[in-house]
Amino acid sequence: MITQNIRMSPRRSLLRRWFEPKSIKKMAPATAVIVYGLLILWAVFVLFPLYWLLITSFKLPADVNAGPVYLPWIDFTPSLHAWRELFVFDYEDTLRAYINSIIIALLATVLCVTIGSMAAYALGRIQYKPKFATIVLFVLCLVAMAVVVGRWGVDWRLSLAVALAVFFVLARAVGRHFKATLGNGDILFWMISQRILPPIVAVIPIYMMFQSVRLLDTHIAQILAYAVVNLPIVVWLMHDFFVTIPTDLDESAQLDGATRFTTFVEIILPLAKPGLAATTLLVLILCWNEYLLSLFLSTSNAQTMPILVAAMNAGERGILWWSMAVVIIVMIFPVVLMALVLQRFISRGILLGAVKG
C-alpha cells in the first residue's frame, strides 16, 4: 500500500489537486470550473434574449434589417426613435391597453385574494359537513337542466329556475334521509382541483354568459374570469399559511367577544402577511400575463397588453421588430420587478411549504 502510494505520488497529487476537494465544504478546482461554467452558460442563455430585446428597441430599422449588430456604440448608434414613436406619436392604443391591464390585473387579484383567503381561512377553522346526497342532487339537477336545454331547446333561464326550485324543494328531504357527509378536506380538494380544468373548456360558455348580459369587452367580465381561474392557487397557498397559525389565537379573540370577521381581519391576516404578500404577487403576475381569457372576452375597449402585443404581428410591413421590442419591454418591466421581489419569498421557503403539502 505505502510503496504504491509513494510510487504514484507525483501523478496522483496532481490529479488529487484537481479532482479532490481540499475540505468537505469546498469544491475541487476541476469541479468548480465545470459548475461555474455551466451556471454562467445558463445565465447567458437566460439573459441573452432579454439583452437582445433591449438593444433591438434602440436600433434603427436599417440596423435591424441589414443583419445582426450586437453592441451599442460600437456596432451601431443607439437611437430613441422606436421609444419616441411609442411614447409621443402612437401612445393612445398602448396606453389604453396598459391601463386596462393594470385595472383588470389589480382588481382581479384583490377579488381573488380576498375571496380565496376567506375560504382558505374558513376551511382551516370551521368544520363544514355538506351532505353528500345534497351535492349529488344539486349536480343531478344541473345535469338534468343541461340535458333539457341541449336536447329539447328549452330556454335556459327557465330551466335554471326550475332546476334550482326542484333542488331547494328536495334538498331538505334528501338531506334527512341520507346522512353521509363530506369534510373540509373534500371541499379543499374540490376547490384546488379546479385548476386542472383547462380554461378552454369553460371559456366558451362564459363567453356566451357574458354575451347574454352584454358584458363582453368590459373590465368586469375579465376581472371575474381571471379571479376564478386563479382562485385555486390562492386557496391552496393561503390554506397552508393559515394552518401554521395556532388556533388558540382565534379562540382567545372570540372569548374576548370578537366576531369571526374581526378575528380574521385584525388577528389572522396580519400574522399571515408574508404569505399573503407572496400569494398576491404571484396572482398579480399570472393575471398580468393572462392571454387566452382576454382573447375570448375582449375585442377592443377592454383589450389587455398581451392581446395588443400579440396583434402587432398583423402589420402590412411584416413585424416591426424595433417597436415590438419597445412594447414588450414596457409590458414585461413591471413583472420583472415583481419577480425580483417574489423571488425572495420563494427562497425563504414560504411558497415551498405549499408544494410540500
Binding site: 459548475v35 445582426p68 345535469v143 380544468l197 383547462p198 369553460a202 366558451i204 392571454y291 409590458m331 427562497s347
Partner: protein
C-alpha cells in the same frame, strides 16, 4: 308621488331621531350579530358561488355544447342536439387528420411498439391484481392502462409509421418532451446551485426571471432570436449554410422551437422549488456520506434524492397540469404551423371557435379535459401518492 315618499322619509327620520345614537348602535350590533351567526356560510360562500357560476356551470354547459350543433342567430344561439356527431367527426370523420393524425397502414416498428406497450400494461395490471387487489384501484388502473394503450397505438400509427400526427399527439408531445427536458435541466441547475458556490443569490435571481415574463413576449423574442437572416445567430447559420432555413417551416424544428421557448420559461419554476428543497436537505447526512467515501452520485441517489422526491413529484404535477394548457407560445411563434404541426389542443379548440364551429370547439375542449384528468390523476395516484410517500 314624490311628496309622498318625502313624507314617509321625514316621518321615519322623526321616529328614529328621539332614540338617538343608541338605536343605530343596536341596529349595527344586531347586524354584526347576524353577520357573526352567518359567518360560517359567509366565509366560504363567495368562493363556492363564484366557482359554481364560472367553473362548474360552464363545464356542464360545455358538455351540452359538445353534443350539439350551434347556429348563430341575431344576438342569440340556436342549439340543436346532435348526439355524438362532434366527437365522431374528431375520431373517424373529416377532422380525424386534425385531431388524431393521418393513418395509413401501421409499420413494423409501429406494431412492435403497440404490442410491447400492450404487453407491459397487461403485465402491470396482472401484477397489481395479484399483489394487492381492490376494485376501485383496479378500475382506476384499467382506465390508466387503456389511455396508455390508446396513446401508444396513436403514436405507433402515426409517428412510428411515418405519418403526421394531430393536435392530440402534439399536446402529448409538449407535455412529455417539454416536461422531461424541464425537469432534467431544472434539477441539474438546482444541484449545481446547491454546491458551495459564490454568488448563489445572483444566479438564483437571474434564473428566476423568465418564469414571470409574459409568454407573448417570450414568443416574439424567440422569433427574433431564431430569425436566420436578421437574428443574432445568423452569421452562424450562414456559415453552416442554412441561411434560408426557417425554424417554423419544418414540423419537427417548429415543435422543438416551441419546446425550447416553453422550457426557457418553465425551467426556473422547477429550479427554484427544487433548490429550496435541496437547501432543506440535512447537511449532516450528506457530510456523513461523504466522509464514508461515497461518490457524489451515490450521495445524491441515496441521501439527497429520497428527501426531495416528494417535492419533485408535486412540482412536476403542477407543471404537467399547466403544460396541457399551452396555447400562447404556439399561437405566437408558429400560429400552429407549418400546417397543424405545432397546434396544441387548446389552440385547435380556439381555431374551431373562431371559425364559429362551437360544437367542435367544445368537443375538442372536452377531449382535452378528459386526457388531462386521466393522465394527471394517474400521475398523482401512481407516483405522488404511492411511490414517494410511504405511509
Amino acid at each position: 308621488m314624490t311628496s309622498g315618499t318625502g313624507a314617509t322619509t321625514t316621518s321615519r327620520l322623526g321616529r328614529v331621531a328621539p332614540a338617538g345614537p343608541n338605536a343605530s348602535v343596536t341596529t349595527r350590533a344586531r347586524l354584526n350579530e347576524w353577520l357573526d351567526r352567518q359567518s360560517r356560510q359567509l366565509f366560504i360562500a363567495p368562493a363556492v358561488i363564484i366557482i359554481l357560476i364560472f367553473s362548474v356551470f360552464p363545464t356542464i354547459a360545455s358538455l351540452v355544447l359538445a353534443f350539439s350543433n350551434i347556429r348563430l342567430r341575431a344576438g342569440s344561439y340556436q342549439v340543436q342536439f346532435v348526439g355524438l356527431r362532434n366527437f365522431r367527426k374528431q375520431f373517424f370523420g373529416t377532422e380525424q387528420f386534425h385531431f388524431l393524425g393521418t393513418f395509413t397502414s401501421i409499420s413494423l416498428l409501429g406494431w412492435i411498439v403497440t404490442i410491447a406497450s400492450a404487453a407491459s400494461l397487461i403485465w402491470w395490471l396482472y401484477r397489481y391484481a395479484k399483489r394487492d387487489f381492490t376494485i376501485l384501484g383496479f378500475i382506476g388502473r384499467l382506465i390508466t392502462a387503456s389511455m396508455g394503450f390508446g396513446l401508444a397505438l396513436l403514436f405507433s400509427a402515426t409517428l412510428f409509421s411515418g405519418n403526421p400526427f394531430g393536435t392530440l399527439g402534439v399536446t402529448i408531445f409538449y407535455v412529455i418532451v417539454g416536461c422531461t427536458i424541464q425537469f432534467l435541466i431544472g434539477l441539474g441547475l438546482a444541484v449545481l446551485c446547491a454546491q458551495p458556490i459564490k454568488g448563489r443569490t445572483f444566479f438564483r435571481v437571474v434564473f428566476f426571471i423568465p418564469l414571470m415574463i409574459t409568454p407573448i413576449g417570450i414568443g416574439y423574442s424567440f422569433r427574433m432570436l431564431a430569425d436566420t437572416t436578421k437574428g443574432p445567430f445568423s452569421p452562424i447559420w450562414q456559415w453552416i449554410g442554412l441561411g434560408d432555413f426557417g425554424w417554423a417551416n419544418h414540423a419537427w424544428t417548429a415543435r422543438l422551437f416551441i419546446v425550447i421557448g416553453d422550457s426557457w420559461q418553465w425551467i426556473p419554476f422547477i429550479f427554484v422549488i427544487l433548490l429550496a428543497a435541496l437547501e432543506n436537505v440535512s447537511r449532516d447526512q450528506v457530510e456523513a456520506g461523504q466522509v464514508d467515501g461515497a461518490s457524489g452520485w451515490q450521495v445524491f441517489k441515496e441521501i439527497t434524492w429520497p428527501q426531495i422526491a416528494p417535492v419533485a413529484a408535486t412540482v412536476m404535477l403542477i407543471r404537467i397540469i399547466e403544460a396541457f394548457k399551452l396555447v400562447d407560445l404556439p399561437n405566437i411563434m408558429t400560429s400552429g404551423g407549418p400546417g397543424i404541426a405545432t397546434e396544441s389542443m387548446t389552440l385547435h379548440s380556439f381555431f374551431a371557435w373562431r371559425a364559429l364551429n362551437l360544437g367542435d370547439s367544445a368537443a375538442i375542449a372536452y377531449l382535452l379535459l378528459f386526457v388531462t384528468v386521466v393522465l394527471c390523476v394517474s400521475f398523482f395516484n401512481l407516483l405522488v401518492l404511492k411511490r414517494l410517500r410511504p405511509a
